[in-house]
């Protein structure tokens, strides 16, 4: 395992003692603690006070929300997930490891100097490239015309037996497709969006930072005439398009885990790579409010495990969405608690 984060963490720690701007020079009030969670790279100290605004059904206090989600024993919660027994290989902590160590939030926390729209756009594109790097392995055909994911192995786009996804056809009717066809359609759809410079502008002269300092979070903006990236030329529906892209990418990841973790990724020695890319994906998508708990469901136990084993730092949103008891129970089952 290469600790590629260690250098940067050490450095950031080293400099954070300096009088690092306690007040942001540009947008003193923009640090709502979410998109901006670490208030720049060096500080890990954001409070989760704004949790209430993201999760209306939960009580406002973060500690209270934790008590609520943690009432059941780890075993009870795992049972409530209706997981197959024995548990899938990827829930075994021994196979939930990474190619990198250190604080993944280093890569997803929005730096003070970056405009929120650009930051989201950047991550959409990066994660898309990353994900398709794995998809390619199961998607591409050998000389004999077979691919690892095919209509026989995966007749439905599913994430285990409890979750399957349908595609909307041109008449907006949900249709069930073999996973490989679903993935191909989605690839076309996502790249259509990403390549559309009206949605993802690339014109350097279009950038602007005369932004409303309060813009930093999609949920704060509902009902106003402001939106993320407005002044830089991102369209009004930019945020919702990105949410859909993240959701679709999540589904593909979920399929990779549920249907292909062992075959082929484990056999091909790519399970750590997959884990690192997926955990970074979850951290980013949740930090940017692009993915919310109900959608995370098929992968909830892995999220629980990563919160418990330290992959997700306590200040991250992914950690808040996790159930520590369930994660600790998984560690215990593997004799690692």
């Amino acid at each position: 395992m290469s600790n590629i984060f260690s250098g940067i963490n050490a450095r950031l720690r080293g400099t954070s003692n300096k009088p690092a701007s306690t007040k942001s020079p540009i947008s003193p009030t923009s640090d709502d603690g979410r998109l901006n969670s670490s208030g720049g790279l060096s500080q890990k100290s954001h409070s989760s006070a704004s949790l209430s605004s993201k999760l209306p059904p939960l009580p406002a206090s973060p500690s209270l929300s934790q008590t609520i989600t943690m009432t059941g024993s780890g075993e009870d919660i795992l049972t409530s997930y209706h997981l197959p027994r024995p548990l899938p290989l990827w829930l075994n902590p021994a196979y939930a490891r990474h190619i990198v160590k250190g604080n993944f939030m280093t890569l997803s926390a929005r730096p003070k100097t970056v405009e929120p729209g650009e930051w989201i756009a950047h991550h959409v594109v990066e994660h898309y490239r990353n994900l398709w790097n794995f998809v390619r392995v199961i998607y591409e055909k050998e000389e004999d015309g077979t691919s690892i994911c095919n209509p026989t192995t995966c007749p439905k786009m599913s994430a285990g037996t409890n979750h399957s996804y349908t595609w909307l056809n041109s008449r907006f009717e949900p249709i069930e497709l073999p996973a490989i066809e679903y993935i191909a359609l989605m690839q076309r759809w996502i790249s259509g969006k990403i390549d559309d410079t009206k949605i993802f502008p690339t014109e350097p002269s279009g950038v602007s930072f005369a932004a409303n300092p309060n813009i930093g979070n999609s949920t704060l903006l509902s009902g106003t005439d402001e939106w993320i990236g407005k002044r830089s030329g991102f369209p009004k529906d930019f945020s919702s398009i990105c949410q859909t892209i993240f959701l679709q990418m999540f589904r593909v990841y979920a399929h990779l885990y549920w249907a292909h973790f062992t075959e082929p990724f484990y056999h091909l020695n790519l399970e750590k790579q997959l884990n690192s890319c997926f955990s970074h994906f979850v951290l980013t998508a949740t930090a940017l409010d692009m993915l919310k708990p109900p959608a995370l469901e098929p992968m909830q136990p892995l999220i629980d495990l990563w919160a418990a084993n330290g992959t997700f730092p306590p200040e991250s949103k992914a950690y808040e969405y996790a159930n520590l008891n369930a994660g600790n129970r998984l560690l215990q089952m593997a004799g690692m608690a």
């Binding site: 250098g7 940067i8 790279l41 091909l268």
Partner: protein, 475 residues
């Protein structure tokens, strides 16, 4: 409990999957690795830019400009992120003229449609470099240029690829190269030579400090910027050591020496005897030189003997090349010039006998002394303990190395526009509107690479080829 907690892990068995899957495995493995590596590097750099601004703002005089400076940094960060997202392709550029041609590719002056800026775009055709060694060259060039951020190295802005080719987008250096200057002036005075020599010392020192051996220092790889100062280009043969000089000695023999068959043909070391009084012959030689530069073989004229003998080499091979170039500046041709490359090889290997200064060339003893201390055995070569020992040579007496890049250069290109190519042999190069078509048709490139997901595989050394530099010009 009779059921195990977790599914049991089968024995790993990658061979159960086909060749395509296994190829994708390698690529996936590497891309994931470099994704995190690059991500961390960019995060770090971004953070440092911010810290740098914070530090500047400690100056109370800058307080009134605080907002503005922050705004500027934010804008440039945005531009950089947009640049990262932009799909690069040849169609983003309007070709203007072919300005260079050499190993596996050509260099064109182009204008970027988006911002109207002028760049030099080097294309390497994939079919022309199918061997692993050639791919490694392309990789080496990209890595060295991407890593180097020095006034002495041509700036690489971005790299990209399509099914046919790899592209390096560089700053355009309008002054041509040192070869063109030598063709034009034939010889330099000792003062002029001193200027270029001193700049080359600094340039080579700079890349060595970055941990690279260039291995291909020669006049056509020394480019001249708009003010007449030099920059090194063409890092295709360079070797990186990531700053670790201690075990930076390479044992492999990278360059082919002459075959036995060729050796038999090259008994006469002094086949062409060039003297200053022999101008027409110099020009014949120069003509051959130019032709050689455009061929894939390249010229061995400037290569140190240890590269052929396989005894191992290190940073000092670049100092040998410097010596041969100085000789050429002063004498008019390089010391081992021959009609045929294999004769040159033989002369280099037998440099103890073949290396002589012509009698009829009048040179200061310091000039001869410096060249002789560079064109010599690697164990005694000046520079093996670092560039300072070269700088201390009496030939450089009075040179202020610290300010060199800021003094007036002896030759300053007079330019009429941003697309002035008068210092390039454009009339000798095939001028095609588009890049000239590669030798093989696109159909041969079933495995051609693009950065597009779901597109066919690419060869391993080209994974993560794409590079994007954060530019001050974003500011």
């Amino acid at each position: 409990m009779n059921v195990p907690e977790f599914s049991s892990a089968p024995e790993k068995y990658p061979a159960r999957y086909g060749p395509r899957a296994n190829r994708n495995q390698e690529r996936c493995f590497q891309i994931a690795q470099s994704f995190f590596k690059n991500g961390v590097a960019r995060t770090k750099a971004r953070y440092e830019r911010w810290k740098e601004l914070e530090e500047r703002l400690q100056d109370p005089a800058l307080q009134p400009k605080r907002e503005e400076l922050y705004m500027q940094l934010r804008m440039s960060e945005s531009k950089y992120l947009r640049f990262l997202r932009t799909k690069e392709s040849l169609s983003n550029y309007t070709p203007i003229k072919t300005i260079g041609k050499g190993y596996a590719g050509e260099v064109k002056l182009v204008r970027r449609k988006q911002d109207g800026r002028v760049y030099a775009l080097k294309r390497l055709v994939k079919t022309e470099m199918m061997s692993h060694e050639q791919l490694a060259r392309v990789r080496a060039e990209r890595d060295a240029l991407a890593e180097a951020d020095s006034d002495w190295v041509v700036k690489l802005y971005t790299t990209f690829q399509d099914n046919m080719s790899l592209y390096l987008l560089m700053e355009y250096l309008p002054g041509g190269d040192l070869m063109a200057l030598l063709i034009k002036y034939q010889i330099f005075s000792e003062d002029v030579t001193r200027f270029y020599a001193a700049e080359m010392v600094l340039a080579i020192e700079a890349i060595h400090r970055l941990g690279f051996i260039h291995r291909d220092i020669k006049p056509d790889n020394i480019l001249i910027d708009r003010h007449g100062h030099i920059k090194l280009a063409n890092f295709g043969l360079s070797k990186g050591f990531r700053g670790d000089r201690s075990n930076g000695r390479y044992k492999e023999n990278q360059r082919p020496g002459p075959s036995d068959n060729q050796k038999r043909n090259s008994v006469n070391i002094d086949e062409i005897s060039l003297t200053v009084s022999n101008r027409p012959q110099i020009n014949i030689w120069r003509h051959c030189r130019k032709v050689l530069a455009y061929s894939t073989v390249g010229t061995p004229d400037y290569v140190a003997p240890e590269l052929f003998t396989g005894r191992g080499y290190s940073f000092e091979i670049d100092w040998w090349s410097l010596g041969t170039i100085l000789y050429e500046c002063l004498v008019g041709w390089p010391p081992f010039a021959s009609e045929a490359a294999y004769d040159t090889y033989t002369k280099i290997i037998n440099w103890r006998e073949s290396f002589i200064f012509p009698d009829d060339v009048q040179l200061h003893p310091n000039s001869i002394g410096l060249v002789k201390s560079l064109v010599c055995d690697q164990e005694t070569r000046l520079g093996r303990h670092g560039a300072d020992e070269i700088k201390a040579h009496p030939f450089f007496a009075g040179v202020d190395f610290g300010t060199l890049r800021h003094v007036r250069a002896p030759f300053q290109p007079g330019l009429t526009s941003d697309v002035d190519t008068s210092y390039f042999p454009v009339e000798d190069l095939p001028q095609t509107e588009e890049f000239s078509p590669p030798a093989a048709a696109a159909g041969h490139l079933a495995n051609g690479a693009t950065d597009d997901p779901l597109k066919p595989d690419m060869s391993l050394p080209l994974i993560d080829y794409t590079f994007r530099r954060f530019e001050k010009s974003f500011m």
